[in-house]
């Protein structure tokens, strides 16, 4: 049966426009094309679209929002609200922010490394949260966030901005390349320079975040009411400095100019292997040194809460959230390492078959 639509048999413009809006941008071209090809009648087209779009959206969400990244972003958005608002009042704005982030990632054209795009994403999320609060103000004023939490959310969004700047999306680096392995020196050099740019940027952001953490933790260190908290904040501040120092002492060596294809392949493969090794051992050099500070801060906060007769559950939530973030961070690093390893394997295969080898 020939199901190709003629010029007369095409979906009604309105239905087609609605369907087009609902299909995520990265797969819109071929999905709408396929739906057009299967067109028989407006009703069948609509039914076909309704049966297709949910799968396409879920698949796109799975690709653009890996669980580890989502957990870390949820942590960044939630933590500033909790002290002033509590879980009940924070639930609606936090959920709105997360859903907006997920849908924004699924529907945007492509993931880029630009800070403007990250700022736009965070701006859209903040706007969605404000709209949600406006609706809450009308529907259930008792659940409205206090002003203190609204102001604290600025810190959350700043943290979200840094996180997304550092982790623009899964496999951004690997997905930039359509070919399995660069066959020419020019293509390889382009790939290497992009990789170097991405790594340098990541190192720069991590260094700045480390210094900011070191300075930021000085304030609670000076104000801490008990010695456990003071030691915890001091260790946290030292951890920030350690991260910054680690980043400065582990720079990426740029590929020298004038290498031939085979040497450039070997050099880049070695650089990728070094990065994979760093990502695979991230729990050891990145997360573990921060653990004593977090443990002492949590113990100090729990002790303080017990002394003042306050509930202990906020400390328990912070413990659970910190553990989730650590697990998500380690899992995300391993995922990135796996993607890089796939690239290394592709390069090894290409290197063995390519023109660089006898």
């Amino acid at each position: 049966m020939d199901r190709r639509p003629t010029l007369e048999a095409r979906p009604p413009a309105l239905i087609d426009r609605v369907v087009r809006v609902l299909v995520p941008l990265p797969c819109r071209e071929h999905v709408i094309g396929d739906l057009w090809e299967r067109y028989r009648s407006p009703g069948a087209y609509l039914l076909d679209a309704l049966r297709t779009i949910p799968f396409v959206v879920v698949s796109q969400v799975r690709r653009t929002s890996p669980v580890p990244a989502l957990v870390i972003q949820a942590f960044a958005v939630t933590v500033p609200f909790l002290p002033g608002a509590g879980l009940r009042r924070a639930a609606a704005p936090v959920l709105t922010a997360l859903v907006t982030l997920v849908l924004r990632d699924a529907y945007k054209r492509s993931v880029s490394l630009s800070a403007t795009q990250v700022a736009t994403d965070v701006g859209i999320t903040a706007t969605a949260m404000i709209v949600c609060e406006a609706i809450v103000a009308i529907a259930r004023p008792s659940l409205l966030l206090p002003w203190r939490s609204m102001v604290a959310s600025i810190a959350g969004f700043a943290m979200l901005f840094l996180l997304r700047l550092q982790n623009p999306g899964p496999g951004v680096y690997v997905r930039q390349f359509t070919s399995a392995t660069p066959g020419t020196l020019e293509a390889l050099t382009t790939e290497v320079r992009l990789f170097e740019r991405t790594c340098r940027r990541a190192i720069r952001i991590e260094t700045i975040a480390g210094v900011a953490l070191a300075i930021g933790f000085m304030v609670p260190l000076l104000l801490a009411p008990n010695w456990i908290l003071r030691i915890g904040w001091a260790l946290g501040s030292a951890y920030g400095l350690y991260v910054a120092a680690f980043m400065i002492t582990h720079p990426l060596t740029p590929m020298p100019d004038g290498l031939d294809l085979h040497s450039a392949h070997s050099f880049h493969r070695h650089q990728l292997e070094c990065r994979v090794s760093l990502l695979e051992t991230m729990w050891l050099w990145y997360f573990l040194p921060g653990a004593p500070a977090i443990i002492l801060i949590i113990i100090g906060s729990a002790t303080l809460a017990a002394e003042r007769g306050r509930p202990m559950w906020p400390s328990a939530i912070v413990v659970a959230a910190a553990m989730c973030v650590a697990v998500a961070g380690i899992s995300g690093a391993r995922r990135s390492a796996r993607k890089l390893r796939v690239r290394i394997e592709a390069m090894t295969r290409g290197g063995n078959d390519g023109p660089g080898k006898p």
């Binding site: 199901r3 190709r4 639509p5 095409r10 797969c27 071209e29 071929h30 999905v31 709408i32 094309g33 396929d34 739906l35 057009w36 090809e37 299967r38 076909d48 049966r51 297709t52 779009i53 949910p54 799968f55 396409v56 879920v58 698949s59 796109q60 799975r62 690709r63 359509t178 399995a180 796939v342």
Partner: protein, 125 residues
Amino acid sequence: MPNSESIGQFEHVVLAAVLALDDDAYGVTIHAKVEELITPKTVSLGAVYATLDRLEDKGLVRSWLSNPTPERGGRSKRHYRLEPTGEHALRDATIAAKRICDDLERIWGGDVWTAGRRWKPVRQH
């Protein structure tokens, strides 16, 4: 020899469809081929897309956009092709399925397809 990526039953069918269609493997044709392979069951086009995305993420297939065609409102097709790892995974999954089939033939005796049908009335007694 390294182990191939493990694939599910539906992924197996989709990989087989992509392999069978060769240069003509894109959303609509893959969906039609999958429905042909799993007859009398039906499946939505979206489920095929989701599986193709997953297979692409696993590195078992690769895709590219073709030139736009007028009968699709000037839109491109996303063509799919099996990667060597995909063929490897497909071969392994097919060997496993064949082994299951052979075993069932031994249990039921003779041809598994007719035996399956013969067996049903016996269970109803």
